[in-house]
Symmetry: C2
Amino acid sequence: MTKHDKRDARETLRGAGFRATKPRLLLFSLLEKSRAPLPIHDIAARLQRHSVDQVTVYRMIDAFMRAGLVREVNFQGQRPRYELVDIEHDHHHIVCTKCHKIEDFVGCDSERLEEKALEQSHFQKITGHSFDLYGLCDTCAK
Amino acid sequence: MTKHDKRDARETLRGAGFRATKPRLLLFSLLEKSRAPLPIHDIAARLQRHSVDQVTVYRMIDAFMRAGLVREVNFQGQRPRYELVDIEHDHHHIVCTKCHKIEDFVGCDSERLEEKALEQSHFQKITGHSFDLYGLCDTCAK
DNA sequence: GTGAATGCAAAAACTTTGCATACGC
DNA sequence: GCGTATGCAAAGTTTTTGCATTCAC
């Protein structure tokens, strides 16, 4: 993590009305470095080395979600995972059903489907969506 | 639940290699009648009136999932829900972010997206997908 | 200095496991 | 009758709550 990243994290936190505490900066850094969304368990395990309590992880994730900094992702048969929200690089996930490897992909044009759904349902407005694929990665398909 | 339904449930269970026990028939009936997928908590609460234990609910759901009779559905910030698999009437869900009402919609042509994802990723094969919408229902949008 | 945020302890909620009994076949 | 499936008890996990202390501002 570079100085630049650290300053960004600080600013983002402050901007969202948070104090830039050590546990929060560590969580930010961890999520930034992680290629895949992480479950609470993993986050807590890694931050424990820095004396951050599990309870603090729950509270930080909750606060970040409310502030729109973090997003929850749910995969079949797994506990919820969390990742930083990156508006400019929206993406979806593809999960290997065998080894649970996760990769990203972009280009889910859900607009058409949202329209369809509005016609079919008693809903007025769509505010979000989730779209995930399951399959076999190179290694597991062999 | 009609006699006809009951016979169907029996046959489906037997066909999947299960004994048609009272708790299983009750679970089947409950899921059949339910318009939305149900969380364990709800299922257990309703079957408790018929002296079915919570542990049995966990075990039945697990067994039915392995057998492909039941599918798990995950919504943001909620515990997993379960619904009967109905191959002929595949559908997706639209969830109200305010009152948590759930409706179905059909017509998610994911083939194109699956192709795109395969090109972008190191995956060989897509075996499934999940697609859910979030929004405001008629009542909550007012 | 002040109040938001944290750590620690404890409680609550959720899920799994073990085993004796019941019941579908 | 045989063996799967269940209920009950108990253990194991995960998540939430309370409160005194710490630390960012």
